[in-house]
């Protein structure tokens, strides 16, 4: 575990932001931090980045209690990001890299690499003011990763990027993960969670309400439902399953959602179906994170 949050409590005057939160983030994973607005994600991130301290509880980073020393091993891209408007891109990144403990020559060399990799070589001497929003986002991303942190915290990293740059960013994030960096990824965009994350934690009302491996979480939310594409007359009344809905698809075939009764094997159900209709496809429905999110958040209200 690169990061282990143990029983953390944080309150702001009367408002409880984190209520005995515990969380484990495995090394080398892209770990999605999900939750509705105001659930406590930012409070948790600010504790990990040591912007604030918890009222009680412990944070273990890479086997040691989190301390000032670890600041240089964490990279943080806040959702609301900014740069010094009047400074030049290169100067600015040099400054931010040095604040993360890099030496001048080291920062210079690493930044040059990034400028080449992201194809922005001629930006070095441009004032930030002259950059478009997307260009500023790239600059900020470099500032977050240039010191090669062990833990990278990205808060809505894709907002403001066009599809081409978003794709490039995604590839960079995956490449950084493959080099062994753990990435804590906070977002509301569930499709990127499905695409990128290895594990997730869902925070709601100051509590972690769901956490685990992506597959495992999805399995937990499976409802024993299947999608069936068939032609013929589906028996609506039968002891093995319920038919949840039938819709016509093109070319005369129809699509139905079937929910198996408890303790009914998939083969038994399929055998029953085959006796009545022509089966073209029969597939388990894996719940999307969108559905999981909505289900969990609305049920806990």
């Amino acid at each position: 575990m690169i990061l282990s949050i143990q029983d953390v409590v944080k309150t702001y005057s009367e408002h409880v932001a984190l209520d005995h939160v515990s969380l484990e983030v495995p090394q080398g994973h892209i770990f999605g931090l999900l939750g509705p607005n105001g659930a406590g994600k930012t409070s948790l991130i600010r504790i990990i980045t040591q912007i604030t301290a918890p009222d009680s509880g412990r944070v273990i980073f890479d086997g040691e209690p989190l301390s000032e020393r670890h600041v240089n091993e964490i990279g943080y891209l806040p959702e609301e990001r900014g740069l010094y408007k009047k400074m030049k891109v290169g100067e600015q990144l040099m400054y931010l890299a040095q604040l993360k403990g890099m030496s001048r020559p080291e920062a210079q060399a690493k930044l040059k690499d990034w400028f080449i990799r992201l194809d922005i070589k001629d930006w070095w001497n441009k004032p930030v003011d002259d950059l478009s929003k997307g260009m500023q986002q790239k600059t900020q991303f470099i500032a977050t990763v240039v010191h090669e942190p062990k833990l990278l915290i990205l808060d809505e990293p894709f907002s403001g990027f066009d599809p081409i740059n978003a794709n490039m960013l995604k590839d960079e994030i995956l490449a950084i993960r493959d080099r062994g960096t753990t990435i804590l990824f906070s977002t509301h965009r569930m499709e990127s969670v499905e695409e990128l994350c290895d594990g997730i934690a869902l925070i709601n009302h100051a509590n972690v309400v769901l956490t685990g491996n992506k597959k495992e979480v999805q399995n937990r939310f499976k409802k024993n439902e299947f999608e069936l594409i068939f032609s013929g007359e589906l028996p609506l009344e039968n002891p093995l399953f319920d038919v949840m809905g039938i819709e016509d698809s093109q070319d005369g075939r129809r699509k139905a959602r079937i929910k198996l009764h408890v303790d009914v094997g998939i083969n038994a159900a399929l055998g029953e179906l085959i006796r009545h209709v022509d089966v073209y496809a029969f597939q388990e429905i894996i719940p999307s994170f969108n559905d999981i999110f909505i289900e969990v958040v609305s049920s806990s209200k």
Partner: protein, 438 residues
């Protein structure tokens, strides 16, 4: 520590690179030089000789009374009305009529002119007539001209301070006042100027949202301290530039003027005129003379040391408060509702300094130079007049304590404020922040 140095460096370099910094650094010395150089230049340029007709109906004035003046007087006689019509056409600036009642009536002098008569011309005429009338009256009273001239002595007192040990130093209360005023003013301006620069820097970081990135790398108090020290160094750099440039420019101008001024003085033959010239120039020269007299009588290392001390800690105290205000708001306009709370003590201490200058040992002045908020300006104003050592030391200790207390409070407001968005803050809210945990 290393990170604070980085922050100081960034704050310093970005500010010193700005054009506005250099404009301010150049403009102030130019302005100071211009303030005294332009009048001299104008005086040297204005060679046009004014001519004035004097119609003396009393017959008291003689031609020799008018010799050696800058203004050319011509004694005439005849009809007043006729001269009134012609004097302007003949190129005279004014027509002076001295009525024959002059010995009894001091108002029996009339000056006619097309335009308004300038003050120097009027007083020159008055002085000539007055001197002559006095001499005549003296003579009538049986006092000889020689006695009259001998009685025209000019008293100029010398002020001497006696120390506890009985050592006497010639002092100059006027000069001390000037030195005190200058130092008080510099402190006043710089506290306001650089304090608000710190505040705007904090607002910039907060409103551009870079703050969150920075404080995930450094502690908020490191950022605040780095900013305050960086801006303070910019202030010191500007002082240095001002001093060097002003001295440089003054040297250059005085070298340029030197030959002309000498020539001017040589061309004036009459001794009286030279005296008059010196008298005119006295207002320009004497402050400098006075100041140098003060400098000779004051302990310069002490004054410079104290100035540095009070500038440094006064600046730290106020700018930490400015930083706290900057952190609590999202724009400079929003900051205005809070800045007054910091401006008021600065302005009050500047106003108190006026009293302190008049009466540096009054209890008001002593208190003003003790209380941390007013002490930087007021102690510097008192210093040229001489301050007992124990008062100076306790004022310094109090200022340091005041600074520590203010910066502690400010840092606590700052660390909460910089992350607070979209919330209208009140003083009550601010005071709550001080007691927030970690």
């Amino acid at each position: 520590m290393n990170k604070i140095l980085l922050i100081i460096q960034r704050e310093y370099v970005t500010r010193v690179q700005k054009k506005s910094f250099w404009i301010a650094s150049l403009l102030a010395p130019l302005l100071i030089t211009a303030i005294y150089a332009i009048p001299i230049w104008l005086a040297l340029r204005d060679k046009e000789v004014k001519r004035v007709e004097v119609l003396d109906q009393s017959g008291i004035l003689e031609a020799k009374d008018f010799t050696g003046r800058e203004i050319q007087y011509e004694l005439i006689s005849g009809d007043v009305e006729a001269f009134k019509k012609t004097f302007a056409k003949q190129g005279f600036s004014a027509l002076v009529v001295v009525k024959n009642t002059i010995l009894e009536d001091p108002r029996a002098v009339q000056i006619f002119s097309e335009k308004n008569v300038s003050l120097p011309l009027k007083s020159s005429i008055e002085r000539i007539v007055q001197n002559k009338i006095r001499a005549v009256l003296m003579h009538k009273a049986g006092i000889s001209e020689k006695v009259y001239e001998d009685t025209q002595v000019d008293i100029s007192g010398e002020t001497i301070t006696v120390s506890d040990q009985g050592r006497e130093t010639s002092s100059s209360s006027g000069g001390a006042m000037i030195l005190a005023g200058v130092m008080g003013l510099i402190l006043y301006v710089t506290l306001l100027l650089y304090g608000s620069q710190v505040m705007n820097g904090v607002i910039e970081e907060k409103s551009s949202r870079i703050i969150e990135v920075i404080i995930s790398s450094v502690k908020p108090y490191q950022l605040m301290l780095g900013k305050i020290l960086g801006v303070g160094l910019v202030g010191l750099t500007q002082f240095l530039l001002w001093i060097v440039l002003t001295i440089g420019l003054s040297r250059v101008t005085s070298v340029l003027y030197q030959p002309e001024v000498k020539k001017e003085i040589r061309s004036i033959q009459d001794k009286k005129v030279q005296e008059a010239v010196r008298e005119v120039n006295k207002s320009d020269i004497s402050p400098m003379e006075e100041v140098s007299k003060v400098l000779a009588s004051t302990n310069i290392p002490l004054v410079i040391g104290c100035f540095m001390f009070y500038f440094f800690f006064g600046y730290l105290l106020y700018s930490s408060l400015f930083a706290a205000i900057g952190s609590a708001v999202e724009s400079s306009t929003e900051a205005q509702q809070f800045t007054f709370i910091v401006m008021i003590p600065i302005i009050i201490s500047f106003l108190m300094a006026q009293y302190t200058m008049q009466d540096p040992d009054s209890s008001v002045a002593v208190w003003a130079s003790m209380i941390p908020f007013t002490s930087p300006i007021n102690m510097m104003v008192r210093l040229p007049y001489g301050v007992p050592t124990w008062e100076l030391l306790s004022s310094m200790v109090l200022l340091v304590i005041g600074f520590l207390a203010c910066s502690w409070i400010s840092a606590r407001i700052y660390r909460v404020g910089i992350l607070m968005y979209g919330k209208k803050v009140s003083f009550k809210e601010l005071s709550k922040w001080i007691f927030y945990k970690g």
